[in-house]
């Protein structure tokens, strides 16, 4: 009995020792924390600059893309290149990022099918790209994204990095006045804005509502001004944009503006947080008006008329 107890304790201690000696965390990851996501690739934790150069000969030549520009959330950008000699994979990532990606290069290159291989894949960029500290600026002061490519041989030896800086376009609507509504759950919210318009038979009180069913305050104006750019997640067909803007490119009419948030449908969600802003004049960096809140399922029971919704803010322009 005592001997059995000793064997059991020894086995337990050995198991604990073995357990603690092992690397518990997996080296691979989903890659969602990184700025890049590569279709068909395997994300590896750590910066692409971490692995030392152990194969001086292995090189990678990225191929030129149809459009070098990228923007936050861009999905499906084609990226490819050639690795060699005797390399059969490419590592792609941003130096300093949470993870980099390993992409197999198994197609023999037509120019040197014996030692060089090509790869091609689709790259997506994080919606948080615009907030990343890893962005750099070019000589014109515009943001760029330094994408690193490294060839990897079958033994896992990395070659030197080739950096391709991609210009970043921040996807912010511009105009003389921009009223925006954003949310962060897959729901169908609608931006309703009451704008001043010239008094007419159609608008005897001198106001009109701009919303999904009437996307322009003055449909006959040329160019149309005070226009809703998109009805996001309309009828719960989730498009991932989760944002609506009413944009003026000309001079907005002076008067009283009312901004409301209409929870057309929460699409099965329990609640939805929203954030509404108003920017003017053109080039304004901070919002003149701002409000946020949370809508619940109870809020969706009201009829979605043009003036429906909860008031976010009101203001007089100018």
């Amino acid at each position: 009995m005592r001997r059995a107890r000793g064997i059991f304790l020894s086995a337990l201690i050995f198991s604990v020792g073995s357990f603690s000696a092992c690397e518990w965390k997996s080296a691979t990851t989903s890659g969602l924390d990184s700025l890049l996501r590569i279709q068909g690739g395997q994300a590896v934790k750590g910066s692409i600059a971490d692995p030392p150069v152990t194969n001086q000969d292995a090189t990678v030549i990225p191929s030129s893309t149809r459009n070098n520009q990228v923007y936050p959330g861009l999905s499906g950008k084609v990226v490819g290149g050639t690795v060699g000699p005797n390399a059969n994979a490419a590592a792609i990532g941003i130096a300093g990022d949470e993870a980099y990606w390993m992409v197999p290069a198994l197609t023999p290159d037509s120019t040197d099918p014996q030692s060089h291989f090509t790869f091609s894949t689709l790259v997506s960029f994080s919606p948080l790209l615009g907030q990343s500290a890893l962005l750099q600026t070019d000589s014109d002061g515009k943001p760029t994204l330094p994408v690193s490519f490294r060839a990897v041989d079958p033994s896992g030896n990395f070659g030197a990095a080739t950096v391709d800086s991609l210009p970043v376009v921040l996807d912010e609507p511009t105009g003389t006045m921009v009223i925006s509504l954003e949310w962060d759950t897959p729901v169908d919210l609608d931006l309703h804005v009451q704008v001043p318009v010239p008094v007419s038979d159609i608008n005897p009180d001198g106001t009109a509502w701009v919303w999904a069913k009437k996307p322009a305050a003055l449909p006959s104006s040329t160019p149309p001004d005070g226009v809703l750019d998109f009805d996001s997640n309309a009828n719960c067909a989730i498009d991932g944009r989760d944002r609506e803007d009413v944009i003026w490119t000309g001079m907005p009419l002076a008067g009283h503006y009312i901004v409301r948030v209409d929870p057309f449908s929460l699409c099965g969600q329990v609640s939805a947080a929203w954030h509404a802003t108003a920017f003017y004049p053109a080039g304004a960096v901070t919002p003149v008006q701002e409000a946020s809140g949370v809508l619940t399922t109870t809020s969706t029971r009201y009829a979605p008329t043009e003036s429906a919704g909860i008031t976010a803010f009101e203001f007089d322009y100018p």
């Binding site: 929460l266 969706t300 429906a308």
Partner: protein
């Protein structure tokens, strides 16, 4: 004794005359004294007679004293013999009477005993008959009964209860919720809780399995309470264990209201704050709990996704666990007032869900309102595909304090007061789910409390409770320019009455609800009329 008896003149002992000896001596002494006196008197009389005779002239001869003595002695002996004979006769009669009475008593006793015996025999026969009938009925019932439930070990308890409701809500309407597609009508019958459980309680261990059925969101059956515990029992019977370790699915040990059994609460549901911060009351984890004298403690580690949470209920989307606990007292003061009080705390990690990737879409906006797709550049908008947004974590915490007092202040029954206070940060997981990592980008500070009074009146119980909950005390914090009112608080006054028996309750409750779920014509938050009247039948075993 007889040898010491008095001797007759013939030298024989007269039996039974022992008590006569002093009497005879006294009598003889008396006679002698009387004789002397009579002699003296006789002398006096004789002298007087002599004087008289002398006067008459003729004198009689004096009587012989010995003869007189003999004569008196003979008379005395004759009287004595007569008395002895009478005494013997009385004694004999007495003996006969005693014998007769004893015989009579014996006969009476035998008669009564016989009657009692017969009566007992009849009773025994009656009982035997009843027993036989009961046995026959039991045999018949066992023959027709379903198979018996056998436990694999001793100490197993089976329990359960049903709470069936009829409710009316002011906000009911015969429409569907645009968000969920569920009926907005809440005027209905429903099974609020139907619990069935089995528990085992051993000296050093406990276990429990409980399932819950309800029709709140349609018919559902789910696992709700599963515990495996090892314990060091308390010294006294009924005392809590000194220390007990538990792993499984159990009530969140925060405050008094959340871990309270639903059968112990007079009011239909927990306060709004408890339902918002700890929805569903149950979560998976492990805990250490116990008590010593009047001190109670519990420390738990749980997933942080209660069964009633709005997302990932019963799962755990992040690796971090919630750590929470309560320290309190439970005692009776001066044998009159029961006191339960404590403070609770929680620190956990919430989860902000990312966004899934989307594909490219095109949308048509009929900007010129002609119903035709005729201006492609202005009426068609393309939305490119979007990459997925990563998820993230955030820290949340909560504090609580609770107090319960109960005492029998009058003959009516016990009077109770209960109060609880909640203060939390990003802990709401049901009513207005907090998400500081979301688009609002700030913390949600929650605050809530309730005060409840209840009174027993015989088999009845009445009570009133006021509860308040504000899920976002800083709802205007991010407003710039001219902030609009965005109060999101809830308050309820609940009045309840119950008829209580050992096996169940019948409860009625009226809730006067105040909220900010409505929208007034100017787009400002307003009260959504949502008062409720609920009738509940409860049966348990």
């Amino acid at each position: 004794m007889r040898a010491a008896g008095w001797k007759s003149g013939e030298g024989t002992t007269v039996p039974g005359t022992q008590w006569h000896r002093p009497l005879v001596a006294v009598v003889v002494a008396g006679l002698c004294l009387a004789g002397s006196k009579s002699t003296a008197r006789a002398q006096t009389d004789s002298s007087q007679q002599k004087d008289k005779a002398g006067k008459r002239g003729k004198k009689e001869p004096p009587p012989d004293p010995m003869l007189e003595i003999e004569k008196v002695k003979a008379e005395f002996e004759q009287k004595l013999a007569g008395q002895e004979a009478a005494a013997k006769l009385r004694e004999e009669n007495l003996r006969k009477e005693q014998a007769a009475s004893v015989e009579e008593a014996r006969k009476d006793a035998e008669t009564r005993l016989a009657a009692d015996r017969q009566e007992r025999e009849r009773a025994v026969q009656g009982l035997q008959k009843a027993l036989d009938e009961a046995t026959a009925r039991e045999d018949a019932r066992e023959k027709s009964a379903p198979p018996a439930v056998h436990a694999s070990t001793t100490g197993v308890t089976l329990y359960g209860y049903v709470q069936a409701d009829l409710q009316f809500r002011q906000s009911s309407e015969d429409q569907l919720d645009p968000a969920s597609g569920q009926p907005l009508n809440q005027d209905r019958f429903l099974i609020r809780r139907a619990r069935l459980g089995a528990a085992i309680d051993k000296h050093y261990g406990e276990g429990r399995i409980e399932i819950d059925g309800n029709t709140v969101q349609g018919s559902a059956l789910r696992l709700i309470d599963v515990e495996a515990s090892a314990k060091l029992p308390g010294k006294n019977e009924g005392a809590p264990p000194v220390v007990m370790g538990t792993i499984g699915l159990f009530r969140i040990p925060f405050g008094r209201e959340v871990p309270q059994d639903d059968r112990q609460r007079l009011f239909m549901e927990r306060s709004t704050a408890a339902r918002a911060l700890f929805p569903g009351e149950y979560d998976l984890g492990a805990k250490i709990s116990g008590g010593w004298q009047f001190v109670r403690y519990v420390l738990a580690v749980q997933n942080g996704q209660p069964l009633g949470a709005n997302s990932f209920a019963g799962l755990d989307p992040n690796q971090q666990k919630d750590i929470l606990g309560r320290v309190g007292v439970e005692d009776r003061i001066r044998e009159k007032v029961d006191v339960v009080a404590g403070v609770s705390a929680l620190r956990g990690t919430g989860f902000h869900a990312g966004k899934l990737a989307s594909k490219s879409t095109v949308q048509w906006n009929d900007t010129n309102e002609d119903g035709l797709l005729n201006n492609l550049s202005s009426e068609l908008t393309g939305i490119p595909a979007s990459a997925a947004l990563p998820s993230s974590n955030y820290t949340r915490f909560g504090f609580g304090a609770d107090l319960f007092l109960s005492s029998r202040l009058s003959r009516l029954g016990r009077s109770s007061v209960a109060a609880e206070f909640y203060l939390a940060n990003d802990l709401d997981r049901a009513i207005l789910p907090a998400d500081p990592s979301g688009i609002i980008g700030r913390n949600f500070r929650e605050m809530g409390y309730y005060l409840a009074l209840s009174q027993e009146i015989g088999r009845f119980q009445v009570g009133v409770r006021y509860d308040y909950y504000n899920p976002d005390q800083d709802s205007n914090k991010n407003a710039r320019g001219n902030p609009v009112p965005t109060d999101t608080s809830y308050s309820t006054v609940a009045v309840a009455a119950a008829c209580v028996s050992s096996w169940g309750r019948f409860i009625v409750e009226f809730d006067r609800n105040q909220n900010h779920l409505g929208i007034d014509p100017s787009g400002m938050p307003s009260n959504l009329a949502d008062n409720a009247f609920i009738v509940r039948g409860e049966v348990g075993f």
